[in-house]
């Protein structure tokens, strides 16, 4: 059985009294596009640097393995990794081709081989060698520098490629293009990618699996679908996509549902799950796209309903958000598909009475954090 590309086993990293990474464990399979997602300060960059070798794990038994081998004490240049830095870290005094050749020169690759490999690397990132090889990094645009940084890393045929928020400084259009290119490269080359970002859309787009980190720990690890559709905690639900949150206490059971009473007399039903009992507090998340808006007298039977007043209608292009305010709860946002406001506008105006409703199974019961 081949070992995973990367294994973290109860790894911690402290700076002084603070733990930046607190006993995290996860594996990355070979060839996987794995993202670590989280807000600033959650520990994702430290995790990346632990894998790179710029930080050493606390000596409390935690292990970092690459391709089955423990690498806790190995320097970065002793690991089979390559890295793309946040600000690209291109050597300003070297031309593009010498930047890319740097790693090959350090490995004493024969001169004759270097030129060919550099040209191939430039092709891989879609930069023409004739135009770009001799240029200085200062003469390149942000996107071009990014590609050179990528080429510099990939030319070494690493087992694992580390990417530290590489698309942050690039404009939206180019960013989306690059996301797809990176994903394609990952599949084409079979190299394992470890991608660190705070942009959840990016992570969802590109990754095979995502580890969501918060406060030095992994909050949830799973595929994009799992993370998005079944967020386990309020943090994950809030960080990925948008959510409406409701609290309540389980009162009693009705067939396959629990009856829950929330604040202000709101009642709704949730699916029965093990581990829940009457009298317990629950906390649920309902994504805007799982809700719909109805006139108070037109709510379909069997759905959870909360009556309120339309507070705002927001135009987002692809979707429309209808924000409904109800007494005793925070505003509820409902996402509806935009079928063309010019030909088929929504009937909702500010101040209209409206009821939001959702099917009882379309919610996510959250764990305590």
């Amino acid at each position: 059985m081949t070992s995973p590309a990367v294994e973290f086993h109860r790894v911690s990293k402290s700076f002084g009294a603070t733990k930046a990474v607190d006993s995290i464990s996860f594996n990355i399979e070979r060839g996987e596009f794995f993202s670590i997602l989280g807000p600033s300060g959650c520990g994702k960059t430290t995790t990346l640097r632990l894998l790179a070798g710029f930080e050493t794990p606390d000596p409390d038994g935690g292990e970092v393995r690459i391709l089955g081998e423990v690498v806790n004490d190995k320097r970065p240049y002793e690991r089979q990794i390559a890295m793309v830095f946040q600000n690209y870290a291109l050597f300003p005094h070297l031309s593009v081709e010498r930047n890319i050749a740097f790693g090959l020169e350090q490995r004493r690759t024969p001169r004759s081989e270097i030129a060919g490999r550099v040209a191939r690397a430039l092709d891989l990132v879609r930069l023409s060698p004739q135009t770009f090889a001799r240029r200085s990094p200062t003469q390149l645009s942000g996107g071009q520098r990014q590609r050179v940084a990528l080429a510099r890393a990939l030319v070494l045929d690493p087992a694992i490629l580390l990417l530290d928020e590489p698309l942050g400084a690039i404009d939206l259009q180019l960013r989306k293009e690059m996301q797809l290119e990176l994903k394609a490269l990952n599949k084409q080359l079979g190299t394992t990618f470890l991608y660190v970002t705070h942009d959840q859309e990016e992570a969802l787009t590109m990754s095979d699996r995502i580890a969501v980190m918060s406060h030095a720990r992994i909050a949830q690890l799973g595929t994009p679908a799992e993370i998005y559709e079944n967020p386990r905690t309020a943090f994950v639900a809030k960080f990925i996509g948008e959510s409406n949150f409701l609290d309540g206490r389980i009162t009693d059971r009705a067939d396959a549902w629990w009856e829950v009473e929330g604040r202000g007399g709101i009642r709704f039903r949730i699916p029965v799950l093990n581990g829940l009992a009457p009298g317990q507090d629950v906390h649920i998340a309902v994504r805007p796209e799982w809700l719909d808006v109805f006139r108070p007298d037109a709510v379909p039977a069997g759905e959870n309903a909360i009556p309120g007043t339309v507070r705002d209608v927001v135009y987002l292009g692809e979707t429309m958000h209808v924000v409904v305010s109800a007494p005793s709860t925070p505003d509820i946002t409902v996402a509806l598909r935009n079928e063309g406001q010019l030909i088929n506008p929504l009937p909702w105006r500010r101040g209209d009475p409206a009821t939001v409703a959702w099917r009882p199974e379309d919610c996510q019961i959250l764990e305590d954090e």
Binding site: A52, A82, M83, F85, F91
Partner: protein
């Protein structure tokens, strides 16, 4: 919008007389960015003109006039001063001064780079260390030079300590040797080498070194291929800042060298005092200035054109 643009004045309380003139002047300047630039440059320009350009011109003129009997110059034109300089004695002096300046620069670079490197990596001690480097400037150059005499004399601190510790029987003759002159010059000019190199190293993005490490570079290779080339502008600037003043130095060689050798600075000083030969002194100064200009030209050629990160 420039700093000189003022918001429109409402009908406020009348201020002191002369305010009208100021306002009119500013109003006149507002749409003329060139005039604004010249106004701001004026004090510095006047200073440079008055205290540099004019004296240099006067010196130039003196160098081609016949010498007066008791000093000064008589009216006339002659290039005797310049042809006199071509005598082997004076050319040797120029050469010797040049060699000394080069030696000072090289030694300062060798001594100064490690110091700058250490300071750049010293985290929270940076300010203190920089302060210590600059501290000697708070004392007079002459006093510092005399301090070196007290250190290096046969009966000075170093020899006394060596003999007292039993490491030597006889004192080491350190003073009045080429060694003491070099030591005095390097000591005096070292901060000029350390500070520019430090500034250059400070700007070095640490991510570059990390990138190099990931790409396989061990510490020595990282230094050779990343740190050193990127600190080159600072190093070159430091060399220039040491080379040019040490070309003109004369006090140090007099005090620490026992006045046994003449440098160009001493020669020029002699011409304006004992020898009362102002034209020759002016010519020697001018020739020295040409050498300095040549050095600056070399610097302009050497400086990498694109890596102007602050230098």
């Amino acid at each position: 919008m420039t700093a000189l643009d003022m918001p429109p004045q409402a009908a406020g309380p009348r201020s002191a007389p002369g305010n009208g003139l100021r306002r009119r002047a500013l109003a006149w300047l507002a749409p003329r960015p060139q005039a604004q630039a010249w106004t701001l440059l004026a004090p510095g320009t006047v200073w440079m003109l008055g205290f540099f350009l004019v004296p240099v011109i006067v010196m130039c003129a003196y160098s081609v006039m016949p010498r007066g009997e008791y000093g000064g110059v008589d009216p006339g034109f002659t290039i005797e001063a310049y042809t006199r300089f071509l005598h082997p004695v004076y050319l040797t002096i120029l050469e010797r001064t040049f060699v000394l300046a080069v030696a000072t620069t090289v030694l300062s670079a060798l001594a100064g780079y490690p110091v700058a490197y250490t300071i750049a990596r010293s985290g929270r001690w940076k300010s203190l260390l920089l302060f210590l480097v600059v501290l000697p400037f708070w004392t007079s150059f002459l006093v510092r030079t005399f301090a070196m005499i007290f250190l290096m004399r046969d009966t000075g601190l170093i020899n006394s300590w060596l003999i007292a510790a039993g490491l030597r029987q006889e004192p080491i003759p350190m003073l009045y040797t080429p060694f003491s002159v070099l030591a005095g010059l390097v000591y005096g000019y070292l901060p000029f080498m350390v500070l520019p190199i430090y500034a250059s190293l400070e700007k070095l993005d640490p991510a570059l070194l990390e990138a190099a490490e990931v790409l396989g570079a061990r510490p020595a290779a990282r230094f050779r291929r990343v740190t050193l080339p990127l600190s080159a502008p600072g190093l070159i600037a430091g060399c220039l800042l040491v080379f040019i003043p040490s070309l003109g130095s004369y006090l140090t060689s007099d005090l620490l060298g026992g006045a046994k050798e003449l440098l160009i600075g001493n020669l020029v000083q002699n011409q304006f005092s004992t020898a009362r030969n102002w034209p020759f002194g002016s010519a020697a100064s001018f020739i020295l200035m040409i050498v300095v200009l040549a050095a600056v030209l070399v610097y302009l050629r050497l400086r990498p054109p694109d890596t102007v990160r602050g230098w």
